[in-house]
Symmetry: D2
Subunit: 242 residues, 4 copies
């Protein structure tokens, strides 16, 4: 486990962007699974400048690792809409380099990625509850590949799904799909980043506590090539371990 | 997970030897952690022929991953004695290429291996109870690095220790040391091999069942570079999954 | 440069087979370019036993690296006929795993291999004149990719071509195609093997002498991952360098 | 060969820095050989910000690849003085992470690097005459390891040496040392960068012309993992090839 602690969100985002770029600048197909959400906003801002209009990065392929569909709509769900807005559109990534995961193909996601040569790197955020991708405590198990998670998977899931679609009841889906823990662990490299005090406790618990289903991301501490990229606040409870 | 099924113990052993050799023939230091026990007997027989007296393999370094000391003795314990007899001595491996783990240095094992460049490959057997190395159910946790396991770790441990030293009471130690699950997962490649009907059930349970502390080797199914080498009997309960 | 010297042709062939097998046993597509000719006869004999009927090796793809067509015939040329007889047929390699190079597609060979993920390993023999693949002195230059070599490329080429088709004049082609030095150097790993006294002088000249167009294989000594596999006779003039 | 063309010197320098950083952010020892001179000035300016005071980069080790001693002085020569000023001092690199090459140890440079695990990446500039490191046309041969080059190696060398020490006659040495072509090719990755119109012709000649001793860097086009990082001016004569 490599632990990188940077002063603040800005510099932590720069390091995360640099790690992705370091992977991209290769003379071969590179497969990246990247995260949506709020943590990566600043990273994508920086990355767009480095990636936009660069034909020498046509070797890079992108995969979303989870998706929450909008009920009653046929286009992209929450994750892909978010990735499009934050990165794919401003960076002008070609459609043929974007490999969409959704409810129509989730059962083939792992086979497709393997066929494409496997993931070189997966970039993850972490929830205060220890979730990564859509692996919330109780929804998936460590041995799960890409999975369907229904609205009854755990208590409160309907509310979570409602929140994900902005609180609009008629858009609330009754499921989502996500790469499971085993699918994520198959990546050759895992990078997990976090910012802010609100993540400090879970960073300690997930990476310096027990490996347990109750904290899904705790499994990641056993991956042979894991990098944590944190700002000082997110790292504030693990200073004694570094 | 790569699954290799061979007809019988003989051919399974040949494949295991070939995988080790493929790793060895490199122009750089290669670090291997290898198993003692009964499963590898035939493999070491074959490997000795390929390795003995070959100065072009001086780049290969060996690590034992557990040790059970003989009470009242100062020399090698059960594991190193076994490895010496099966492989190191007949293959004439130089002493400086053998890095002994024992009770005097187990707390430094992980740091030492990292300093040496990390393990390229660890070769494991599996117990009918799902243990690998000295990680018996209840003795270590997934998050453990190289560990000390005392005679009271689990019920029956004293009997196990007695059995390991050939039933000679005065030689029974009150502990052993072992690389923990997290230490093993840090290897760039994991190879686990098994032979015979008696391993068929645990192979299915460990690699196609839940990831759980009750079956320590179940964690290995989440490693990004795991190879199983089985004979047909050991693979007899997983034919439907391959 | 890793140099492996074995006692005789038999054991040298076993090591060469082991190196190929070590590459094959992976959980991803593996691309190998392999040589025809007389040197590999014993290696293929051994390899066939390890590969025949093994569905777990369906991940391995094969490329021939040169071809001499039979004039007036439409089927395989000299190289593919030879590879079929020595290896592909007895080992029952599936047609979809064999990627034929010939005069119809040689201009796309490098792009195709790159598209397929690049070569993991290329296995080469060496001629007494220092040639590898069809890169005879004077026919190609170090900077050449896969190339067409005509019967007038160098003096004596017509005789060479005649000899390659067994001395049957009406089968003598007026060209051949070959991966060029630059194409071969693009492989992640290069293994070159040689047997017998008759190769001793060129082994010394190519790998311990100047890098020069006059000895095409001398370029290979600059590859970052080159392994020589020799028997004692082939290594008899380089003992002072090892 | 990966070719990256950026708009100007500034952005080209940013990409070069990113490639180095991508290599650095690993959980293992990383060995880099880096260039002095004028091309990297802007890159080091940027790199210093990313590297200074970062204890998480203590895994990175640095090697200079040539050295021109100051006659009559015992301290660092031209290259190390330059690297110190541009990078090591402002970035506060620890002394134990800097592995100095000079006339006292050049004969052991290749063995030392191999012992340290080999170079992960070497960053090179290119001269208008096609030289890289101290490999000027006529001074070394493709097969040379780290070498001593005397003042009579080629006509005009005394003037070159004089110029290198700022034209001060009493400081002019009568030799320099340099990693040779073969030593450089042994690196797992080679990055060569160039800026400005004055490099446009040699970039075309070296990487799209013949591999020849007259243009030492032409050898690099045969390396399996070469990346060119150019600004538009330096790439202005190769637009047809990309």
């Amino acid at each position: 486990m490599k632990i990188i602690v940077e002063k603040d969100y800005e510099s932590m985002s720069r390091v995360a962007a640099n790690i992705l770029l370091g992977e991209m600048y290769q003379d071969k197909r590179v497969n990246l699974a990247i995260t949506a959400g709020t943590t990566p906003i600043k990273m994508y801002e920086q990355l767009v400048k480095d990636v936009k209009g660069k034909s020498y990065l046509d070797n890079v392929h992108y995969y979303n690792f989870d998706e929450i569909p909008y009920e009653g709509e046929t286009g992209y769900g929450v994750t892909m809409s978010n990735l499009n807005r934050l990165f794919f559109e401003p960076a002008q990534i070609k459609l043929e380099n974007i490999h969409v995961l959704d409810e129509t193909n989730y059962q083939h996601q792992d086979a497709r990625i393997k066929q494409d040569g496997g993931l070189d790197l997966i970039l993850l955020g972490i929830g205060a509850d220890g979730h990564f991708c859509g692996n919330l405590p109780g929804t998936t198990k460590f041995e799960d590949a890409t999975s369907y998670v229904g609205e009854d998977a755990i208590p409160g899931m309907k509310e979570i799904l409602l929140s994900e679609v902005g609180g609009v009841a008629e858009k609330r889906p009754n499921f989502y799909v996500t790469m499971g823990p085993k699918s994520v662990m198959a990546s050759r490299k895992i990078v997990l980043f976090a910012t802010g005090k609100k993540k400090a406790a879970i960073i300690k618990e997930a990476f310096f506590g027990p490996v347990t289903d109750h904290v899904p991301s705790s499994l990641l501490q056993t991956h042979p090539n894991l990098t944590l990229v944190l700002d000082e606040e997110a790292a504030s409870e693990i200073q004694g371990f570094i």
